[in-house]
């Protein structure tokens, strides 16, 4: 079956520092999605990447899809306390109705 690895599991940064989480799949993906879950809340869709090598930006967040469509990253520039939460990648494979979620990266930002 499909395997997904998301690293790191946890990261604590000072406000203003950058943050990156990585997601790797054992097999080629159809597309990849990223979600954010605030403490005590539910996962919220952030973005979907479909094309090989695709890069998308949302303000201070940069999402990248690998050339081989097997890995992805989420980079946050100059973190703010509002960035606190757990970031999940969700992998979509051709022919499957479901998404395979990574275990998530918990981000803590100290002021």
């Amino acid at each position: 079956g499909q395997q997904v690895m998301q690293i790191p599991q946890y990261q604590h940064v000072q406000e203003g520092e950058d943050f990156t989480t990585y997601c790797n799949s054992s097999t080629t993906l159809s597309n990849i999605q990223w979600y954010k879950q605030r403490p005590g809340g539910h996962p919220v869709f952030l973005i979907q990447l479909v094309k090989s090598g695709e890069v998308k930006k949302q303000k201070r967040l940069t999402f990248q899809f690998g050339e081989a469509k097997k890995n992805s990253s989420l980079h946050i520039t100059a973190t703010q306390t509002t960035d606190v939460g757990t970031y999940f990648c969700a992998l979509s494979y051709s022919g499957y109705s479901t998404l395979t979620f990574g275990k998530g990266t918990m981000l803590l930002v100290s002021p």
Binding site: H42, P43, G102
Partner: protein
């Protein structure tokens, strides 16, 4: 616009008692529906998903079951709760690929926090 509701928001139940969690979606038709469980500080475990009324796929064998009596209603049940059933239960919906094609983006409900004592 589409909305998804879950209730109750929190629940404390004794071991061995039954469980019924309900999820309803508004503003869309024939959605795919999903039940996830999240242990404290952990990832999302897919429990069940449904692509239509009466169609349930189970991802993890356990003492839980799911039903979809109506198009936009998804119910998670148990006859006898175990301590290990404690967790955060999330319902989600996505557009039906067979009907609408394209993305599998999932939209989550607010969740139910279940504590089994």
């Amino acid at each position: 616009s589409q909305t998804i509701h879950q209730w109750p928001a929190t629940l404390v139940q004794p071991v061995g008692s039954p469980l019924s969690l309900e999820c309803t979606v508004e503003g869309t038709s024939n959605p795919n529906l999903y039940w996830y469980r999240q242990a404290a500080g952990r990832g999302l475990q897919l429990l069940f998903y449904s692509v239509g009324i009466g169609q349930i796929s189970s991802e993890v064998p356990q003492n839980l079951s799911a039903s979809r009596p109506q198009d936009r209603q998804f119910i998670l049940s148990s006859k006898k709760l175990l301590l290990s059933d404690s967790g955060f239960y999330l319902c989600a919906w996505s557009r039906n690929l067979a009907v609408e094609g394209g993305e599998k983006t999932q939209y989550f409900g607010p969740g139910t926090r279940l504590l089994v004592l």
